[in-house]
């Protein structure tokens, strides 16, 4: 199985397979096979590669253990691929598996850092800690500081919408206009008129600023805690639908140019 995380390391460091192989004193073909998962490195080779790409070699074995249980389920890395190729869109992510959830947040951040995007991660305290810990061996402290902003969901929910609107406005304002932004938001419950709608109402002054920015936004929920009714409502609002294993067009997205939404049977009868 493909070691997607290892590819991320290399790409983030802007190195080719040949360069990593050369610095790690191994053949390029061998290194390529390690990335694709066809071969497993010895401890010495793993240590050398880790030195070149600046991560803890233990990660090699930890990830191999974790991935053997669930990475084989990923459909050809189409989700990291989507994050790599899209800088502007909105994705609705309903997850079932926490391990895969974390893997996707990490991939979202790493592919963002690779593009020098600024990543805002809004999640619950425990999850943020886990994400931070996973990133620490991969990114330098400076990269963590300059590229990522972690926001505790509980604190955010307790704040006033006006204050939050001001906070986000200032955050956007400080950034260079050409810099793209990624926002990952994880929530427990879905509400029709939620805190985000309230903030948006108070961000009218930032409308132009927001429109100018390239924003990749992922909104995630635990699939077992959201009803089908809410899911349908959300699918109408978001152009992309993501699960633990795949990403696809949202079939109910109402604002698509190529929308293929037909009325239900009885509504057709009324035509």
């Amino acid at each position: 199985m493909k070691r997607e995380w290892l590819i991320q390391f290399r790409v983030t460091k802007k190195l080719t397979q040949a360069q990593v192989a050369n610095f790690a004193f191994i053949d390029r073909g061998y290194y390529s096979q390690i990335e694709t998962g066809k071969r497993n490195p010895s401890h010495t080779v793993a240590t050398n590669i880790a030195k070149v790409l600046d991560f803890d070699p233990i990660l090699f074995f930890q990830n191999d253990t974790n991935e053997s249980s669930f990475q084989s389920n990923l459909s050809n890395g189409e989700i990291p691929e989507f994050f790599r190729n899209n800088e502007f869109s909105e994705v609705l992510y309903l997850y079932n598996n926490f391990k895969l959830y974390y893997q996707h947040v990490i991939s979202f951040i790493l592919t963002g850092v690779q593009k020098s995007s600024f990543c805002i991660v809004i999640d619950y305290f425990m999850n943020l800690n886990h994400i931070r810990q996973s990133l620490q061996p991969i990114l330098k402290d400076k990269e963590l500081e300059n590229f990522i902003c972690f926001i505790d969901m509980e604190e955010l929910m307790n704040d006033e919408p006006e204050h939050l609107a001001k906070y986000f406005h200032e955050l956007l304002w400080k950034m260079k206009p050409e810099r793209s932004i990624r926002i990952w938001l994880n929530e427990k419950q879905y509400c029709d008129n939620d805190w985000l709608c309230n903030i948006q109402k108070h961000m009218k002054d930032s409308k132009n600023l927001l429109e100018m920015k390239k924003i990749l936004f992922v909104r995630s929920y635990n699939a077992s805690l959201v009803s089908a009714v809410s899911h349908i409502k959300m699918m109408r609002k978001y152009p992309y639908l993501m699960t633990d294993f795949e990403i696809a067009d949202s079939p109910f997205y109402q604002f698509s140019n190529s929308s293929n939404i037909l009325p239900s049977f009885d509504l057709q009868e009324e035509v």
């Binding site: 699939a223 089908a228 809410s230 639908l241 294993f245 795949e246 009325p263 009885d266 009868e269």
Partner: protein, 192 residues
């Protein structure tokens, strides 16, 4: 290759189409059931309706179906069919379904089905429904008939819904009818 047939007066779909309907409003549910029956009868198809007798009778009364038309409609109680009093037993439900459709296949008679899926709260129902619908989809493709599986959207989680979007080619709500973008995407073993 399967032929296309009218699903309604305005849409043609493959003769072996698996449709999942997430309903919220009972009145609209009834209207949709009536529209489905009406097109089936117009096509000269038999209809296998797995639903509460009370609901089907209400629909037939509203539609004013003739006695001759009623001969084309075959009713089965959904609580008994899905064993909604006990364990959602995939094998037994599928066997029961085959028993229902076999006479139509033997006689080479066109038919379409509508089932309101019901279950009693139980452990691992998301996986059971996923397995059941996956197997049912294979059977529909093989045998070649049109099938609507109706689920009460207020009683289904997004987890179950996502699985159903993978096993059904079309999705309907009270308002919309769409092609499922998750259908036939590589099915993955997500089971624990």
């Amino acid at each position: 290759m399967s032929k296309t047939i009218p699903l309604t007066r305005y849409i043609e779909v493959s003769s072996s189409s698996h449709i999942v309907y997430f309903f919220e409003n009972e009145r609209i549910y009834l209207e949709n059931l009536m529209a489905y029956i009406k097109t089936g009868l117009e096509q000269g198809q038999h209809l296998i309706i797995i639903e509460q007798a009370e609901v089907l009778n209400k629909a037939l009364q509203k539609m004013n179906v003739s006695e001759a038309g009623k001969k084309y409609i075959h009713h089965y109680d959904n609580s008994s069919f899905y064993r909604s009093y006990g364990d959602f037993n995939i094998e037994s439900i599928l066997n029961h379904a085959m028993d229902l459709i076999q006479p139509f296949l033997d006689e080479d008679v066109d038919f379409r089905t509508w089932s309101h899926v019901k279950w009693k709260d139980q452990k691992d129902i998301a996986n059971k429904l996923d397995q059941y619908e996956g197997l049912a989809d294979g059977c529909i493709g093989e045998v070649g008939y049109m099938c609507v599986c109706a689920y009460d959207a207020t009683n289904v989680s997004a987890e179950i819904q996502t699985n159903l979007m993978r096993s059904h080619e079309y999705i309907m709500t009270d308002e919309e009818f769409v092609h499922s973008s998750l259908y036939n995407k590589k099915r993955i073993q997500s089971k624990k």
